[in-house]
């Protein structure tokens, strides 16, 4: 049994569970099966994080993203952003709402209804992921409903905060709904202390055996 389990292994498994729960909730709500891929979690310093995120923004999102974000500052401090490529969002929303729009809509124009839908999806995903993290380590985390934004020509600068947080957790995940794959990214800015707190707790829990 290999003992070289990295911090990333641990967080990957944790977020795995969180994403699984999010998919389960979403699946129940939209009444469709959601295919999941294993999220890949990386712990990076802010500089490296920006590079990786810019790659995603360029290659997957092609510049325009829809963002749900929350800040948490009770016991654990950080900022979470859930990013999806804006051009896929209309289709994603349609799949969730069992609708088909046949007009060619401007990729970056979203109605209030679209925003509310994404607010719900963002809340479900973030809730599940942060919730799972919080439960496992028994550290309560407080946050509000997500803010939703559409950013044209997004840059990692916007999501990776170098000043307050020195570490970035990045997770790339994909949902598959009826053959349509949406590739998203989750960026968690955290202080070094917060991350240490989490990992220490996990250590205690599982290494006592």
């Amino acid at each position: 049994m290999a003992d070289n389990i990295s911090r990333e292994d641990i967080l990957t498994e944790l977020f795995n569970v969180g994403v699984g729960q999010a998919a389960s909730t979403l699946s129940d709500i939209i009444d469709k099966r959601i295919g999941l891929t294993i999220p890949n979690v990386r712990i990076l310093d802010a500089a490296k994080g920006k590079i990786e995120l810019n790659k995603y923004l360029l290659n997957v999102a092609e510049g325009a993203v829809m963002v749900s974000s929350i800040s948490f500052d009770s016991q654990l401090e950080g900022k979470v952003s859930l990013l999806f490529p804006a051009d896929k969002m209309h289709h994603f929303i349609d799949l969730c709402l069992h609708e088909t729009r046949d007009e060619f809509e401007n990729s970056l124009e979203f109605t209030d209804i679209d925003f509310d839908t994404i607010k719900e999806i963002g809340n479900i995903v973030i809730n599940s992921i942060i919730g799972e993290l919080s439960n496992t380590v028994n550290i309560p985390v407080e946050y509000t409903l997500p803010d939703i934004d559409v950013l044209n020509d997004a840059n990692a600068e916007h999501f990776v905060d170098c000043e307050d947080y020195r570490l970035v957790l990045m997770m790339f995940l994909a949902f598959d709904i009826e053959g349509t794959e949406i590739a998203g990214a989750i960026v968690i800015n955290m202080t070094l202390n917060s991350l240490d707190d989490i990992l220490n707790k996990i250590d205690k829990l599982y290494n006592g055996r």
């Binding site: 049994m1 290999a2 070289n4 389990i5 292994d9 641990i10 990957t12 498994e13 795995n16 569970v17 994403v19 699984g20 729960q21 998919a23 389960s24 699946s27 129940d28 099966r33 959601i34 999941l36 891929t37 294993i38 799972e132 496992t136 599982y206 055996r209």
Partner: protein
């Protein structure tokens, strides 16, 4: 003579393997543990070592958990499979349970669920 019960744990997360191992090792005696890091390896180890029980994660690269279980059941229809997964959608659960698994456990593993698994295994190994 001490009979060993062979348990094969298939999971792409080393951390998860370790947790499962820790829990089971606490409650069960005389176990030989075998580990596989993805579905493909899981299939190989299954044919190689012929475990008494398999604990399978669903979300894995190369060969998905579901597909692994299908292949295993093709080789040995009464293979003892317990699913331990983060993918907890009802639809997924239905499909997998139809394949004839002993139990479908939602991750994360805790005391209660671990005991559940051990009860299943315990009964099985006592029958030998």
């Amino acid at each position: 003579m001490v009979f060993l019960t062979k348990i094969l744990i298939v999971d792409d997360s080393k951390f998860s393997q370790k947790i499962t191992y820790s829990f089971l090792n606490q409650y069960l005696k005389n176990i030989e543990f075998v580990f596989a890091n993805d579905g493909q390896e899981g299939l190989e180890k299954f044919t190689e070592t012929q475990p008494d029980f398999m604990i399978v994660d669903l979300l894995m690269p190369k060969l998905r958990g579901q597909d692994l279980i299908e292949k295993v059941k093709q080789i040995e229809r009464d293979a003892n499979v317990i699913v331990l997964s983060a993918d907890v959608q009802n639809r997924v659960r239905d499909v997998v349970e139809k394949m004839g698994v002993l139990s479908f456990i939602n991750k994360p593993l805790d005391e209660k669920k671990a005991k559940e698994i051990c009860d299943i295994i315990g009964t099985g190994s006592r029958g030998r």
